[in-house]
């Protein structure tokens, strides 16, 4: 577990250093994720150790959102002042994203590869 955690931190560190060093517009941990993904593709397997630790970390992923979510307290006035655009944006954009993604996939999938809907879009 320690070895796997060290590995994750090293990839994050590499991502952080390269993102900042080259002034890339990508968050360091995201770059670390890409590096790890490419490493796994090259290596051909993740290994039980890394799999177990990642699973443990991702299983409690929602806990990790709590401190940031509590930050709403700092922005209560902003949300109260702008609740109308925020609510409309969240509702309409989320529905639109679901519909557009599904429609485009249904169109490009056609009738093969197990699309049981049999509909044409």
């Amino acid at each position: 577990m320690v070895a796997a955690l060290t590995q994750l931190l090293l990839f994050q560190l590499a991502g952080e250093v390269i993102a900042r060093g080259l002034d890339l517009p990508v968050p360091g941990p995201v770059l670390g994720m890409v590096f790890l993904f490419l490493t796994l593709v090259l290596r051909g397997e993740a290994g039980a150790n890394l799999e177990g630790t990642s699973q443990g970390l991702l299983q409690h992923l929602s806990l990790l959102f709590v401190p940031a979510g509590t930050g709403i307290i700092v922005h209560i006035h902003r949300v109260a002042d702008e609740w109308l655009p925020v609510i409309f944006s969240l509702f309409i954009s989320t529905a639109a994203t679901l519909i557009v993604t599904a429609l485009v996939m249904r169109m490009t999938l056609g009738h093969k590869a197990g699309d049981t809907s049999g509909e044409t879009a």
Partner: protein, 244 residues
């Protein structure tokens, strides 16, 4: 408060121990309620934990900064957790290859729709620029969305709240929308909810079926990556419009 209790409070409020403990306790409470509700998406544990913590901070008059001194240890783990997303992503690599064209086109269309419609609607209804920029990455998983928000000039902590709200909306509304569309393919249902509603949508997709869940996890990882690359690059093009 008696003088002794007062002293105790001074000690506890200055130590990271209290912020860390209440964060874990509030989440445990939220998770317990979520289980008790039969995993109802409306009883989202993060939402409940945040409501408990905000109430506590307001009642005790504690500043967010003081609270965060303790909670930052939990917050820090978002970095390695983001890196760890590569592992489930790699586990689904065969599925990506098998459905490459629908997955890639669906991802591009969905990712662009999520970002552009969020910006356009917020702008249309008069949101200020920091709020618009905080809304832009709302469909991707929190650690990535917060990083992106920071990059583009949004407010990361506001983005975190908006991301969680988006996740709950997609998880609750997704099945109604897909049923109305007469869309039954688990791969498409899962992938679309993963693009729109990241991890919270993915959790919901796993309840529908294993296949839907796998595609949602895939979509969450891919959309996180694409949005992180695309949004900062798109922004200069939208710049004049946003500034106006």
């Amino acid at each position: 408060m008696t003088p002794r209790l007062g002293e105790l409070w001074v000690y506890l409020s200055a130590s990271p121990l209290l912020g860390l403990t209440v964060t874990l306790a509030a989440y445990q409470g939220g998770y317990w309620l979520y289980r008790r509700s039969g995993m109802n998406p409306l009883a989202n544990p993060v939402l409940i934990a945040v409501a408990i913590l905000v109430s506590l901070l307001l009642i005790t008059g504690t500043s967010y900064q003081t609270y965060f001194n303790g909670a930052q240890f939990v917050h820090f783990l978002l970095g390695p957790a983001t890196v760890a997303l590569a592992v489930p992503l790699y586990a689904h690599i065969k599925r990506i290859r098998a459905m490459l064209v629908p997955v890639v086109t669906g991802l591009l269309a969905g990712s662009l729709t999520a970002v552009l419609s969020a910006i356009a609607i917020a702008k249309l209804f008069g949101a200020t620029t920091p709020t618009v920029l905080s809304l832009a990455p709302k469909s991707v998983t929190t650690p990535i969305a917060m990083g992106v928000a920071e990059q583009i000039g949004g407010i990361p902590s506001l983005t975190a709240v908006l991301v969680i709200a988006t996740g709950i909306l997609g998880a609750v509304g997704g099945s109604y929308i897909f049923n109305a569309m007469k869309l039954h393919s688990p791969a498409i249902r899962g992938f679309a909810i993963g693009v729109a509603s990241h991890g919270i949508g993915t959790a919901r997709a796993f309840q529908e079926s294993e296949q839907a869940g796998a595609f949602a996890a895939l979509a969450m990882g891919m959309n996180g990556l694409l949005t992180a690359l695309l949004l900062p690059a798109l922004l200069p093009w939208l710049g004049t419009w946003l500034g106006g």
